[in-house]
Symmetry: C2
Subunit: 416 residues, 2 copies
């Protein structure tokens, strides 16, 4: 696969380029770009304001077609809706193919700002706002359709600390819908699920969010809901296509990858009782800017040899940053997680990782965390799944066709 | 009350200024402002992009203090979290005062980009993104604390078509948290509810969304999830302070207003079965741009006298636009609703209206809708509440103190 576009991978790994603290203190950077001084920092006048005359970005598009599926090395949009689907009882390749043909056509239209063929509210589709729709397939689908085909998709091994709830478990198909606009998200999800309804049922929907587009400077590493800068070490910006995209492993899978979904619940009530020193000790990074405890900026290399005045390591070997670090450069993957909250006050992270080889790149890291990580006191994985994410399709084709061994689309077959 | 700022009211009623269709076709308007051509409309190259180098707006603030509470005539932010609280059994004025002192201090800090006094993740508070926190009080609170005080707060009359679920009913206190950033929303809500916990329980949380900031041109009227342009007729831009803000009605309430909350469920499954002609007939407006069926642009005045070739009215008298229209200019209010979805695929509108006199301005309109409106086929109100929204407080004071007849804050009293 030579389709790697260095700038694109760089974009998704932009964390590696954003300076620590760039996202903060932006008030100082912000010019009076609306030209009418609507933003009063203080004062006794009613301060209600109209928003600044922003650049309109709803029309920004990300191409659905290409070499790889979009939504992987795409700089993360503000909103996620991840939907786990199970094929209806008795459904096989033909049904799956019809569903994927419909959904691929929908996605192709939506991502370019057009309504679906059978769209009942096409006006809601006119602002894609960097919409991407990414499809993945669970192990059962490949076992059922192509038992001899092995692109490298295996269920994750058991991790003893997991407390898995089947309600968030492995499904046959996953749809990852991401966009900067929440209206677009809700409309696109609704239309996709209408078209999927004759073929599959929804097991779960995992919605998530990051900072809105424009809140922070592009490239600022996100924080999770524990307040930590989360994702500083991500797949580096260049020369690591081999860690992200599959090559030569199976026919029809070149340019594909694998998606790991882990739903990680946070115990914020207990976290709140933990003082900042203990928090930073557990993470191994400073909360203020994400700098390692041995450094002064987010992207400084942690110094695991450094000791304090009485000889203890500054970064505890059981801290998250120490446990996640590997001497093996292959133990890396692209992280693209989203925060979530629940109506009852719960919170957590929809951890999403993409890797060309899950067993080689992701599993050892997760095993180390499972064995020992001070952060485990406050985080529990309650859902887990893994999907084969085939390459993109060309226009008129559908995602996964080659991988699933299905025939080319014909002119027959209906829309929902 | 002379504090009305014409530009501000204009901002919230900005719908009246936005041209029809301004929000669409923005791709044409959008310059290549990122300077690197990342947005490919089509093509075979992988189109993953980094976001444009937007103006950073997370630092934009709206003053919590002033004459009126913010979040009313503030141009609607992208995200809403509306929280209904009930005071704990036995809680009276003293407890409510302590809670409001804490929450007002929190809100004052959060809206200026600072963490709360007891904030456990203050870094998450550093991008207010036009955050507003607005407080209202239900009828029971005034009856309990000041039975003789009458700013004009009454429960709404019964509307026969309502199918009210007490789970979404009247509460003692409401917090309206709005911001353009979903991370800020979740953090601020969590911290406010932590500080409220010793005094009150959460009855409901109603989250909602509009277009993200920047998706459309400022002033574009929002669409609801039925795809309709929703909110074209809003409180006009000038000379209607009397319809929004209370004056001379009760001591400590000048500059206050009332908030009506109606949770309106939409039957999108049935709506989807309805063709566009029938939809437009029911609404009385065109779906494409919100123009009345007798006009060509969103803000054209509907012509209720116009008839078609066979003599039938072009805008049916039972259509939504006809039923909502009143010859009485006092039957208007400021609408500030948000769309909602539920995990099971449900959808609707958190309808929020602000008016100086609910009985005079809102109730007749709602009664007309209840009596007859073709849209009722698809919408059902399942929650309803009304709140007195006092004026803003000055720095160091707390919202509602005068209205609730509570003593000035002293230096005693603790933080949560």
């Amino acid at each position: 696969m030579t389709g790697l576009n260095r700038r694109n991978l760089l974009a998704s790994g932009a964390a590696a380029l954003g300076g620590a603290g760039v996202g903060w203190g932006t008030r100082g950077l912000r010019g009076d770009h609306d030209g009418n001084g609507t933003n009063s920092a203080s004062g006794t006048e009613p301060a209600s304001t109209e928003p600044a005359a922003d650049v309109v970005t709803g029309g920004d598009t990300i191409d659905f077609h290409g070499v790889h599926q979009a939504g992987i090395d795409t700089a993360a949009q503000a909103h996620l809706s991840l939907v786990g689907l199970d094929l209806l009882e008795g459904g096989g390749g033909e049904e799956l193919g019809r569903m994927m043909r419909l959904l691929s056509d929908d996605a192709s239209r939506f991502t370019s700002g057009r309504g679906a063929l059978a769209d009942t509210e096409p006006e809601l589709a006119e602002s894609p706002a960097r919409l991407t729709v990414t499809f993945g397939f669970g192990p059962r689908v490949l076992r059922m359709l192509r038992p001899a085909y092995d692109p490298g998709l295996q269920e994750l091994p058991a991790f003893p600390l997991d407390r898995l709830d089947p309600a968030w478990g492995q499904t046959d198909v996953v749809l990852q819908v991401c966009t900067d606009d929440p209206m677009t998200l809700s409309h696109v999800r609704r239309m996709l699920l209408k078209d999927a309804a004759p073929f599959a049922t929804v097991r779960w929907v995992q919605d998530g969010f990051r900072r809105a587009r424009g809140t922070e400077a592009a490239g600022t590493t996100m924080r999770n809901l524990m307040g930590q800068v989360d994702g500083t070490v991500n797949l580096p910006a260049d020369d690591h296509a081999d860690l992200l995209w599959s090559t030569g492993r199976a026919s029809g899978f070149d340019g594909g990858t694998f998606m790991v979904v882990r739903r990680i619940e946070m115990d914020l009530v207990d976290w709140d009782r933990t003082d900042r020193v203990a928090r930073e000790f557990s993470v191994g990074r400073k909360l203020a800017d994400g700098a390692p405890l041995t450094g002064s900026a987010e992207h400084d290399e942690p110094d695991f040899e450094a000791v304090d005045a009485v000889g203890f390591p500054v970064i505890d070997p059981a801290s998250h940053v120490a446990r996640m670090r590997s001497a093996d450069p292959a133990e890396r993957f692209l992280r693209r997680g989203y925060n979530y909250t629940t109506p009852d006050g719960g919170a957590g992270l929809v951890f999403l990782a993409f890797a060309a080889d899950v067993d080689r790149q992701f599993v050892p890291v997760q095993q180390r965390m499972d064995e020992l990580d001070l952060l485990n006191e406050w985080v529990t994985t309650i859902g887990s799944a893994v999907y084969a994410v085939p390459p993109a399709c060309v226009e008129g084709d559908f995602v996964g066709r080659e991988m699933l061994g299905l025939p080319s689309p014909t002119t027959s077959g209906g829309d929902a």
